[in-house]
């Protein structure tokens, strides 16, 4: 058996990394340099606030032109993907919702829709494609949007995911701004990253909209490699995290989600990954939280830290792990990864309030919310 560090990372007798590079390069997509209209996720910032709050900060250090419209009067809404995939709303409602969001972007002078949610990416892409598939649909939606809210819209020029943006600028981030790299500070070993690309990023429109295609998507593993880490390929790499709106919204089906995560964990464990990288809010939630559930169910403690691409960027940029990146919101502790990289942190500052205030009630909250606090506090909830 080869030493662990030799897996997947260079041409070996088991794995041909060069061929893998050639495969994803068949599917290059155009990502604009600048001019992004951001559409936030409705769940990402709830579970991992840093992942989304860091977006303006990161785009600003790159001096990029971006905008969003979070004014209350703009009523920037969710894409309604949860309702659409949960079969509680019609495609017309979804088309109307995206048309309105596009009109907000166009009002602000932007042609590129940059969404931070993978479900939204799928929704916007699907709606965009429908206009090209169905003659007369644009005229119909023009009329409906005007009747609904008095707005006009045009099809955006680009629909991208914010992970596309970070991929586009990954080398500049590394060369000009990053303090740390994905390298073990003691041994110099490149850290092993498992990518988990959200299904609605690379499986709905694998040829046209997934950077690197459906099978060997590059949008996250490209970040791992650019930032000196090593990409790990493993058999269940493409398996869904198990979120699925029908599972996560229906309590009796929730076991399916844990089973899916467990399947992935069992498969990736022999490759000894140092972290999992995601670009989907749902995947981030379930890959992180279900590791705690798996420990509760069968006692197996994987506890492989799960990060969004934005959180990983923030950590390597040297931003405060708690105050800015928000790793304290993770169920699986991220601190062991920080130790490997050599990123300093002060755990006593994990749960401070505004302006560094001490929150007397935080321990009580953490104890009362198992998935958020139990693993972190090293306790088992009975």
């Amino acid at each position: 058996m080869l030493p662990q560090d030799e897996y997947m990372t260079r041409q070996t007798k088991i794995y041909n990394a060069e061929a893998r590079e050639n495969t994803w390069r068949r599917y290059i997509k155009e990502i604009p340099d600048d001019g992004y209209f951001l559409l936030p996720s409705c769940v990402l910032a709830v579970g991992y606030p840093g992942a989304e709050v860091m977006q303006p900060r990161l785009l600003d250090i790159l001096d990029l032109d971006w905008n969003w419209n979070l004014k209350p009067e703009a009523m920037c809404t969710c894409c309604s993907g949860i309702a659409y995939h949960g079969d509680v709303s019609t495609i017309e409602s979804t088309l109307l919702t995206t048309a309105r969001l596009w009109s907000l972007a166009q009002e602000a002078g932007y042609e590129t829709i940059a969404v931070s949610c993978v479900t939204s990416f799928g929704i916007h892409s699907e709606c965009f494609d429908l206009y090209h598939e169905e003659p007369g649909l644009k005229q119909k939606m023009d009329k409906l949007l005007m009747e609904a809210c008095g707005r006009k819209f045009e099809l955006p020029r680009y629909i991208i995911h914010v992970s596309d943006v970070i991929y586009k600028h990954r080398l500049r981030l590394r060369d000009e701004f990053m303090t740390y790299q994905l390298v073990d500070k003691d041994s110099g070993r490149p850290l092993r990253g498992v990518d988990h690309v959200g299904c609605h990023y690379n499986k709905l429109f694998p040829l046209e909209r997934s950077l690197g295609g459906g099978e060997y998507c590059e949008v996250l593993s490209g970040l791992v490699k650019a930032w000196a880490g090593k990409e790990i390929d493993y058999p269940e790499r493409r398996h869904c995290c198990g979120m699925g709106f029908r599972q996560c919204m229906l309590t009796p089906n929730r076991g399916f989600t844990a089973a899916c995560v467990n399947k992935k964990m069992v498969s990736m464990e022999p490759f000894e990954p140092d972290f999992i990288l995601t670009n989907c809010p749902g995947c981030e939630v379930y890959l992180d939280k279900e590791q705690w559930a798996i420990k509760e169910l069968n006692g197996k403690e994987y506890f492989i830290p799960v990060l969004t691409y934005m959180e990983l960027a923030g950590l390597l940029l040297g931003w405060d792990p708690y105050d800015i990146v928000g790793i304290q919101f993770h169920t699986v502790p991220v601190e062991p990864l920080l130790d490997k990289i050599g990123i300093p942190y002060d755990e006593s500052k994990a749960w401070l309030g505004k302006d560094g205030q001490t929150l007397s009630w935080i321990d009580e909250i953490l104890r009362a919310t198992p998935a958020a606090g139990a693993a972190r506090m090293g306790e088992t909830i009975s």
């Binding site: 080869l2 007798k13 061929a19 050639n22 495969t23 493993y234 058999p235 493409r238």
Partner: protein
């Protein structure tokens, strides 16, 4: 008018066409771009369904074609230019600054194996223990790189758990290959039997969509494989993965049981389909004939004149018009010789 025939391609179809024309008293020039005759069959240790030697078949054909006094062989040569109307073709080769007068042209340019790396879910080219049926044939060849031992590429270990994935690059709308390549089921079944003969304890699982063993002796060979203990599971493999020791995982649905399943194998062979030869579009343009939707050369009439190209005086043999087993290629070539003879016979005397 010249009664000489130019034959493009020196594989089994091209050689047999030359032999058949010679038997009919017609001169031909056999043009082969490679430095030796035999096309792809010269690399096959065994051919189906009767386990004869492909190499011996080629040697036999070559001996006969070289002994045919009306056949001129030009190896390492390509036709670069053709002009004129039948039966007054002027043909130029890349090996000489002169033109050859020909009354007819036979296209026997064969096929190209499907590039299995394009069916990306199987990881061919990336996972070293995922190989193609052509590579498996080479491993099973006593004169091959492993002297006929089934040693997997990653570590030289003798493979005991072998998966064979059928229909790779065939019957696949996503890849634009809707057609069945016709020979792969039998080719891979033949290989499974060979493995079982050499390694009786080996576990071989063939994953298939349908088994299409339609020719004489083919179905019997399929039965022989099952009786030897080769497992056939109906289900299209969804993806392959690799484990740290190089073993390959397979995910598939058994469509008889209606259940998904997974397996771990030492070696995976992709029973790849075939595509038209890479030069087909260039040759079609040069000769002014059409390609069909599947990329193979189109026929004058698919029912009545399957060996006639879409222009007079140009004939088609072997895999140039779609995949077929060797006996069918040989039959094609004999048919082409008859069509050429008929074409020459109906030429008005004044054109001579």
């Amino acid at each position: 008018m010249s009664r000489k025939v130019i034959i493009l391609g020196g594989g089994v179809a091209g050689m047999q066409a030359a032999i058949a024309l010679n038997d009919l008293g017609t001169e031909s020039i056999l043009v082969e771009k490679e430095p030796e005759l035999g096309g792809r069959v010269k690399n096959y240790d065994k051919i189906f369904p009767f386990f004869q030697s492909g190499k011996e078949l080629v040697k036999d054909l070559e001996k006969r074609v070289r002994g045919a006094h009306l056949v001129e062989i030009k190896l390492g040569t390509t036709v670069t230019h053709v002009e004129g109307q039948p039966p007054h073709f002027q043909v130029r080769l890349d090996t000489g600054n002169y033109e050859i007068s020909a009354g007819a042209i036979v296209v026997a340019t064969g096929f190209e194996p499907f590039d299995a790396s394009l069916q990306e879910e199987y990881g061919y080219g990336i996972y070293q223990n995922v190989i193609t049926a052509t590579e498996l044939e080479s491993l099973l060849d006593p004169e091959g790189p492993t002297n006929g031992e089934l040693r997997r590429p990653s570590d030289g270990k003798i493979a005991q758990r072998i998966a064979i994935v059928f229909c790779v690059g065939s019957r696949n709308e996503k890849l634009g290959h809707n057609y069945c390549s016709r020979i792969c089921c039998s080719f891979s079944t033949k290989q499974a039997i060979e493995i079982k003969k050499k390694y009786p304890d080996a576990r071989i699982v063939c994953f298939y969509i349908d088994i299409r063993t339609y020719g004489r002796g083919f179905e019997e060979m399929y039965r022989q494989a099952q009786e030897a203990g080769v497992n056939y599971i109906r289900g299209r493999v969804a993806e392959c993965g690799v484990l740290p020791n190089g073993d390959i995982t397979i995910r598939v649905e058994d469509t008889f049981l209606g259940k998904p399943m997974q397996g771990v194998f030492d070696l995976v062979s992709l029973s790849h389909g075939m595509t038209p030869c890479l030069d087909a579009p260039k040759i079609a343009t040069m000769l002014g004939i059409r390609l069909a939707e599947d990329g193979f050369f189109d026929c004058m009439d698919k029912e009545l004149y399957a060996n006639d190209a879409t222009e007079d005086g140009i004939f088609l043999a072997g895999a140039a018009i779609g995949m077929k087993p060797i006996p069918d290629c040989i039959a094609d070539s004999n048919a082409v010789a008859a069509r050429v003879a008929a074409f020459f016979a109906k030429m008005p005397k004044e054109t001579e």
